[in-house]
Each structure stands twice: as structure tokens, then as C-alpha cells.
Symmetry: C2
Subunit: 223 residues, 2 copies
């Protein structure tokens, strides 16, 4: 019997690639997507499509967190950063940071994993070509693994829950190459922070994605 | 300006005492209560009352977690444990364990604390007279403090978020004494796992509470 995994899916390039990676490793996957009032709730539609194409059940978690209004990823009255590629991730935590978003996402993953005897949580986080969020770093996920070990039935009974971040040390070009290799339906992934019908091309996420495809010498099927 | 704290409130004896403790220490408090389909959703009404009496704003978080059906604290078709007091907490994790519930609760607290510049999360957990849940132990909260340090803006900027568990090493009698000393409106707290209109007296939580009042030589105002 294949081991079970909970995949934290946002519908973007990274988490979709992480899902296909988990499938390629033989995990029986369930995916989880969060609705937290993100301005690009468009990504949830992508998550549904990706999960369907991957043949993986998707659980959608709507959360009402009225305290997130300072984040420009939630409050569309706040401008999104539009900075040169070289400065993305270098100038401290950007306004798109959503306080505790990944922490809540992983916590829900731990709950689902502990309830369903899944031995792994799979995340698409990467700490190289990223916006500079603190909750994308390897040390953060290692600390969370310890929380899972100490705070769950699974951990208490010696099975434990691993947090797997297969992309965490890859740059965007290598993630793009991996996505192609794994057959990720990239056409349906959504990375743009702005939402809308077409990627804006100007937000951090669009710029990092574009850089990845350029460096990999590949065409973005979503454009 | 007093430091801010996020108090994880369930409306029971322990978390209500933790709230009054935080107030007594001069924290400016906000409380958070979870609705996760618990059979004793009656406790949310208590949390509202306690927060109002304490003069503290309360945020209610409804969560839809369909994977919790194995827990007898959520699935009322499953019987609640009814065991001798001496065996409570001693026989492994009981059926009332809700996978990841405290992990999600703390994660939401981290999000709220990071968004509102609160330096502390206050929890009523105690690891002495308790049902035997893994997510009540000191080591678990210490590990979570590290997650908060590594994964938040607050931690990145050197302020950090402490997790304070003022009751964690107290037995129930000492918690009851502390509650009286702090003026906790115990009449309105709700501990019973079963819900309903009156505490059942037979679940782990009722038995532990009763033991606490007996050993403290005090009358439970909620009975």
C-alpha cells in the first residue's frame, strides 16, 4: 500500500510541481487549498483544475481572517510591489506577505495528515527565487516537523509526519524544467498575485515565473 | 503602552483562567475561539460570555474540517470515554483527541499576533491533570515558539512571539485556586465534553474539573 501524503496546493507553478513530484514518488495524495480572501482567488480555480487533472481529491478550506487587511495580497486597495527583478526577495519582507498564512496551511495539513494516517506533507516552498517571505525557509519547515512530531497522535505513536519541500533549494529555471519533466499541466497553473483574467507580468510572482521560463529556454504555456 | 497578547480561549476553566492571568499581567488581550464542529459547541457561548465579562474582544473562527469524524469530541455518534479518574491521561491518546486542533489554534494565534504586533500568545494548556493529548506538553509549545520565530515578520525583525502557558505545570486544584484568586467568572465557564445544558459529570473533563474543586476545597459555581 502506497504511503499517503497531504499536498498543500495553491494552484501555482511551485505547488503544482510539488503535487506531480509527490505522485511520481508513488504517494497517494490528497490536496488542500486555502481561501483566505486572497486578491488572486483565481488561483483556487487553478488548484481545482490541477487537482482534477492529477486525479487527486481536493479539500477547499475557506478561512475568515479579518486581521489580514494590511497585506497587499488580501487588501486590493493596497498597491502590489512592482520592483526590478534583482531586488525581489532582497529588500526585507514585502507587503504581499500574509501573516501566518503558511503556518496555518501547514497546521491544517498536519491535522489532515494525523487524522488520515498520512506520513507526509508536501509543500512547494522554495527559498531561492522567491518573494522573501520568512515562512519559505528550510529551517522553518524543520521546526514545524518537530511540532508535528510532538503534537500529534502519529508522532506519539512513532510514525511521525515528514514535511517534504522538494523544490526548496531549486531556482525557478530548475523548477520549470522539473515541471516539464513531470508533465505538470502548466497551462492551467496560476502564479500572478494580481488575479484578473491574464497574468499582469509586473508583480513579483509574474517576474520570477518569467525569469524561470527564460532561463530554462522554454515557453510558458499559460501565456 | 502595554504589550499585546492573543489569548486562545475555549470557554473552559483553563483557558478562562489563562485569560484572566494575562489581564492581571497587564497584557492588552484579544481572544480567539474556534468552531470546528465540536459536540460541546456550547463552550463557544461560554467563551463569548467570558470575553465580554473580561472586557476583551473575541474573534470567532469557524472551520470546516470534514476529516475530524474519527474524534469522539466531534462525532457525537461515537461514545465519549467514561473511565476512572486514575486512568485519565494514562492510557494513551483518548478518542476525544482532535487531530491537529491545538496546532491549528496556535497557528491562527501566530497569524493574528504577527498581523497585530502582539508579542505573546497565551494558552490554557496543562500537562498534569489532562486527558493525555500530545499537544498539551511544554516541549510542543517550545517547538511552536521556534516556528513562530522563524516564520513570521515579527520573528524576522527580532521581536518574536512568545507562547505563554501559565498553567502548564499546575494541577487542577492549583488552577482552581488561581482562578478564584484572579476573579475568573467560573460560573460561566464550560468544561464538559458532552455539551447539553448541564455538565454530564462523567466525561474526562468533568471528572478532572470536579477533582480540582474537591482538592482545592472549593465549590464549583457552575454546578
Amino acid at each position: 500500500m502506497a504511503e499517503k501524503a497531504v499536498v498543500l496546493l495553491s494552484g501555482g507553478l511551485d505547488s503544482s510541481t510539488a503535487l506531480y513530484w509527490a505522485k511520481s514518488k508513488g504517494f497517494r495524495c490528497r490536496a488542500l487549498v486555502l481561501g483566505y480572501g486572497q486578491r488572486h482567488s483565481r488561483e483556487i480555480i487553478s488548484a481545482r483544475k490541477i487537482a482534477r487533472l492529477a486525479g487527486v481529491p481536493l479539500l477547499e478550506m475557506p478561512l475568515r481572517m479579518p486581521w489580514l487587511g494590511q497585506s497587499s495580497l488580501v487588501n486590493s486597495a493596497r498597491p502590489l510591489p512592482d520592483m526590478p527583478l534583482s531586488r525581489i526577495g532582497a529588500g526585507g519582507i514585502p507587503s504581499t506577505y500574509v501573516p501566518g498564512r503558511n503556518t496555518i496551511f501547514v497546521a491544517l495539513g498536519i491535522s489532515l495528515a494525523d487524522a488520515s494516517d498520512a506520513g507526509a506533507i508536501v509543500v512547494g516552498a522554495n527559498a531561492l527565487d522567491y518573494s522573501g517571505y520568512p515562512d519559505c525557509r528550510p529551517s522553518y519547515y524543520r521546526a514545524f516537523e518537530r511540532v508535528a512530531k510532538l503534537g500529534t497522535r502519529s508522532g506519539s505513536e512513532g510514525r511521525g509526519i515528514q514535511i517534504l519541500a522538494p523544490l526548496i533549494r531549486l531556482n525557478k529555471a530548475r523548477i520549470v524544467q522539473k515541471a516539464f519533466g513531470l508533465g505538470v499541466p502548466l497551462k492551467w497553473t496560476w502564479s500572478c498575485y494580481r488575479g484578473g483574467n491574464r497574468p499582469c507580468g509586473r508583480c513579483d510572482s509574474c517576474k520570477l515565473r518569467k525569469k524561470g521560463f527564460q532561463e530554462a529556454g522554454l515557453q510558458d504555456p499559460a501565456l
